[in-house]
């Protein structure tokens, strides 16, 4: 029998397929990149930056939810922690350049993420979601009570400052390209993580945890790492947001925000790379467009209707449904 040949043939076919998929991904990414680079000339840059910040937040969340199967109901805590930390540092230490403030904000959110993970990672399913919710409520309480956050009034007038000490971020275009660069870097990082050896283990854990354990994986540690990375990226999103808007507020720490990121991810398509980005764009746009128009009193009910329809008719989300459609019709 010529079985070895069959084997290598199959291997080759598999590699071939991987490459084809990579090419497809590259094309999609390239198109998106061009669109994003050109966008501020067609649209109001600050609005675009808002979308990018939320998209990053959703991407971070999806790394945990879509790719590891852990539903965190407390991700607002990281967004807010990143934002407040960066805001506080940039406001009070004028010697800091903007990127240092952002790095510090991200670092604090990462540490908080580690703390959350240590307390919650062993809980399963809905209990995990609820512990993260509870922890984030405690963080919320801390922010409400702390002087430095300005409580309900928020932290205002955070200076955008100079990137690396010489690029003026007061200019919306400069700021936009900076945000875009960070976003792309993070997006690529997540793409890499998902496909990395580590990503494979996450996938395995998501699909059958006891089996992963029996294959010798200490799943708690893998989950913890995923949680921490996700928290870090969420914190980064918050830091950037506070610089863009020059403001950090309790809004970002409220449980509604944790809910909103779930919605964005689901509407866009959980477990897909692009889904959260599309979902964030969609939700931010709908909220914004509606609040401008004659339907502005109806933002909540309309969003409610959208969620109902999503769940009933497009359960895999926008990107998920498109992927399904392509698979079905284009082979």
């Amino acid at each position: 029998m010529n079985q070895p040949i069959t084997q290598t043939d199959i291997q080759k076919a598999i590699l071939e397929q991987q490459n084809a998929e990579n090419r497809k991904k590259m094309i999609v990414n390239a198109v998106l990149l061009i669109l994003l680079l050109a966008a501020p000339f067609a649209m109001y840059p600050v609005f675009l930056m808002k979308i990018l910040c939320f998209a990053l937040f959703a991407v971070a969340f999806n790394l945990l939810f879509g790719f590891t199967g852990l539903l965190s109901f407390g991700h607002a805590a990281f967004l807010a922690t990143g934002g407040y930390t960066t805001g506080y540092l940039l406001t009070n230490y004028s010697g800091l350049t903007t990127e240092m403030g952002i790095i510090a904000g991200t670092a604090v959110a990462t540490l908080l993420g580690l703390g959350f993970a240590l307390l919650s990672i062993r809980r399963q399913g809905i209990y995990f979601a609820m512990v993260t919710l509870a922890l984030s409520q405690l963080v919320f309480f801390f922010f409400v009570q702390s002087e430095f956050t300005g409580g309900e009034d928020g932290m205002h007038g955070i200076p955008r400052g100079q990137l690396f000490g010489f690029i003026n971020l007061e200019d919306n275009l400069n700021m936009y390209y900076f945000v875009l660069a960070v976003f792309i870097a993070c997006y690529l990082l997540v793409q890499r993580i998902v496909n990395s050896p580590y990503g494979q283990v996450l996938k395995a854990i998501k699909q059958n945890e006891p089996r992963a354990v029996s294959l010798g994986y200490n799943v708690d540690r893998y989950k913890t790492l995923a949680f921490v990375i996700s928290a870090a990226l969420a914190g980064l999103a918050g830091s950037m947001k506070s610089v863009v808007f020059q403001l950090a507020s309790l809004n970002d720490a409220h449980w509604h925000m944790s809910g909103e990121v779930i919605l964005m991810t689901l509407v866009g398509g959980m477990g897909t790379l692009l889904g959260p980005v599309v979902g964030a764009t969609f939700v931010v746009n709908v909220e914004y467009q509606l609040s401008q128009g004659p339907l502005r009193d109806w933002v909540d009910p309309i969003l409610g209707g959208i969620f109902i329809i999503t769940v009933l008719a497009f359960r895999s989300g926008i990107v998920g449904e498109i992927q399904k459609f392509m698979k079905k019709n284009l082979g």
């Binding site: 069959t6 990395s196 050896p197 580590y198 990503g199 395995a204 006891p210 089996r211 294959l215």
Partner: protein
């Protein structure tokens, strides 16, 4: 003394809220044996498996692996030491391809499982070994099939291949032929036989024709305690075993094939 046994339990006890499911069990599994654990329903076989792999925590007693006390190790650590189990219900990663399923197991030894910055292509070097394993269980042509789409029997085969990828020194199989037609049963028997080369196997099985064909040694559990131990001949001749387990005709066989235990023994 200990060298000859890979796996031993000393006075192992498991209680569930006062109910003693495993009662003072001393198992001694010899290196290289295919060892069966049989007994009536509810005798505690699955529970013993769960204790050995730490899916349950023993109430009392010790577990020794190659003479070393592993009672306090966690599941994953035990698996990395080479004690690997398969599950009573099929346990695969349903949305991965067969090949990826095996790679997840092989990856354990790569030491890069936390490397989230590395490219996924790094794992391609595992493909060769993975294909070999798939081939061994006759799944070569399904390498790129998503596992949910595989038929039940093939899932079990895949699971076995994944388990073998761990290079286990001792393999724990819980009712590997459950729910299979006679055709598949024969296939699994062959699989286990070939997998057992150079390793130790501990299996739970109700299909006595399988037990008689495969196993070197048999421990009979009843009501949580060891009733008797020995080879198939001895055990099946024991009147107590006939009473609590095998029933009047003593064959306890399943499937349409009427295999004579004696001839099976002779074939080995």
């Amino acid at each position: 003394m200990s060298e000859q046994y890979v796996l031993e339990t000393r006075n192992l006890v498991k209680e569930f809220k006062g109910f003693v499911a495993v009662d003072d069990v001393n198992l001694n599994i010899r290196k290289g044996d295919i060892h069966a654990l049989i007994g009536p329903n509810g005798a505690g076989k699955t529970t013993v498996f769960n204790l050995l792999t730490k899916f349950l925590i023993p109430t009392r007693g010790k577990i020794l692996y190659k003479g070393e006390d592993i009672t306090s190790l966690k599941s994953a650590a035990i698996a990395r030491k080479g004690v690997v189990r398969s599950f009573q219900i099929s346990a695969v990663f349903p949305h991965m391809t067969a090949l990826e399923n095996i790679r997840v197991a092989l990856q354990t030894f790569e030491g890069n499982s936390f490397s989230f910055w590395q490219a996924g292509a790094r794992l391609n070097k595992l493909n060769e070994r993975a294909m070999e394993l798939l081939d061994a269980v006759g799944l070569t042509s399904f390498a790129n099939t998503t596992t949910v789409e595989l038929a039940y029997g093939r899932k079990r085969a895949l699971e076995l291949a994944t388990t073998l990828a761990m290079e286990p020194e001792i393999l724990l199989l819980d009712e590997p032929t459950q729910g299979m037609g006679s055709e598949d049963v024969d296939r699994v028997v062959e699989l286990v036989r070939s997998a057992a080369k150079g390793r130790t196997v501990l299996m739970v099985e109700h299909n006595l024709s399988v037990v008689s064909k495969l196993c070197d040694r048999i421990t009979v559990l009843a009501q949580g305690a060891v009733l008797t131990e020995g080879d198939y001949e001895t055990v099946s001749a024991d009147p107590r075993v006939r009473e609590v387990y095998m029933g009047s005709d003593g064959s306890g066989e399943r499937g349409a094939t009427e295999t004579n235990p004696a001839s099976a023994e002779a074939a080995q």
